[in-house]
């Protein structure tokens, strides 16, 4: 992933890589042989949706329906699947509107026509490292950081740019606020790494140096550390 980043009067396209990478896990047999994953059908779909639709009496319905396992379908191996939209009679529909529904903590609901998130880290307007510096303790007590990403150089010039930036932040022992902008309104907008991705309203940059190397971490937050 790339990021168009600016600091003071310099801007550059840089690499962005996740800090945490999930360890790959596989399984072996008792004798150390390789295994394979298989996906299969769990139950008869003809009966289950009807039962689910009558939700308030779901358990009674299951008990009374005397559902038999369909031996033709249950356990059938499935490979790829394709997501489609259907009406209540399971007929595919192609003409529909998408809505965003927000269920608020007080139980009330809000809705709007779906707004597709646009990734905004590689726009013409760069992601800007602000001059506003924050105390790490203050940042830690204010936000929950869900995603951390390394900002990496791609040549000698960008190395110098990032090393100097990391050194400055490390010497000051501060985090810099990172802002993204809406290309239309030119106002601050939440950071979105890619189209349809999660929005992060706050981003901070942490810098560390060790001899001739640097570490710049972009901390992303979508939640304040507030007890509801």
């Amino acid at each position: 992933m790339k990021i168009h980043l600016a600091y003071e009067n310099i801007d550059a396209d840089l690499w962005l890589t996740p800090v945490y990478r999930k360890k790959k896990r596989t399984y072996q047999t008792k004798t150390g042989e390789k295994t394979i994953y298989r996906r299969f059908l769990k139950f008869d779909i003809d009966k289950r949706p009807k039962l689910l639709l009558q939700d308030p009496k779901f358990f009674e319905n299951v008990r009374d329906a005397d559902v038999d396992v369909d031996v033709e379908l249950t356990g059938r191996l499935i490979k790829k699947t394709r997501k489609i939209t259907v009406n209540e009679d399971y007929i595919p529909v192609y003409n529909f509107m998408m809505y965003d529904i927000l269920e608020l903590p007080d139980g009330s609901k809000k809705e709007r026509v779906h707004q597709h998130t646009q990734g905004n880290i590689m726009d013409k307007i760069p992601v800007r490292i602000s001059q506003d510096l924050y105390d790490p303790k203050e940042v830690m007590l204010s936000y929950v950081f869900r995603r951390n990403l390394y900002i990496k150089h791609n040549n000698g010039l960008t190395f110098k740019f990032l090393y100097d930036l990391a050194k400055k932040l490390s010497d000051l022992q501060k985090f810099a606020r990172v802002d993204t902008y809406d290309p239309k309104t030119k106002k601050r907008a939440p950071l979105a790494l890619y189209d349809g991705g999660r929005k992060f309203p706050r981003a901070f940059l942490e810098g560390k140096v060790k001899e001739k190397s640097y570490c710049l971490v972009l901390h992303l937050s979508d939640q304040e550390l507030k007890i509801p």
Binding site: V19, K23, R25, T26, Y27, Q28, T29, K30, T35, I36, Y37, R38, R39, F40, L41, I45, R48, P49, L52, I78, K80, T81, K83, I84, T85, V86, N87, V93, F96, M97, M98, Y99, D100, I101, E103, P105, K110, E111, H114, P136, M140, L141, F145, R146, R147, N148, Y150, K152, H153, Y163, K212, S213, V217, H219, D222, Q223, E224, L225, I227, P228
Partner: protein, 209 residues
Amino acid sequence: MVRYLKLKLEDFEFKASLASFSRDSSYGKQSYERRGEDGTVYRTVYLIEDGSLFILPNSTSSDVFDEKGRYLKKKIPVDEEGKEFTVIPSMYKSTIELKNIISLQEYFNYSIERSYVLKSESSEELTLLSLECQILFENDQLLKFPYAYYDSLEHRDAILIPIEDKIVVVVGRYTEPEFFEVTEIDYTGEEEEEEEEEEEEEEIDFEVW
């Protein structure tokens, strides 16, 4: 049903539970709906590869089989190098000694996945822990303990943060920070090699033939 952790701070043992709070509980939960012109809510199903069947979300399962396609009752989880994973026992199975400390700098090496408030039937039970957390925090330190709701294969840490008179517990995964260096080109070495080559090789003529 509330599950209680058995915590131990120095010689003092007490019970506490974790009450979850998330982005959804603070700002609301977002979902999507597909609707027709008349307002009918449509649903999403999955079409299998040969197009013969619709399946609803969560109506499939995955499991591990041997290479001949036989179901395995016992399977051993291994990493990329074939090394067996060690099972981390559930934190509810034994008493957790609160003695591991991390620095504030180390805190930022965690990717946070969940957030909780530590609760106890009597608030007095948490007073000592709250005080200890406050003192540590003033010195840029935080208490942590291994987090595993069930017996797990992957390691997570629960970190205790004192906020006002409460203790917030955030759960995340630690990653050792990576430092990046510039790739330096050793011109001296190349020049020396070139000089050697020049001695060995014949000079190229400008003539075509």
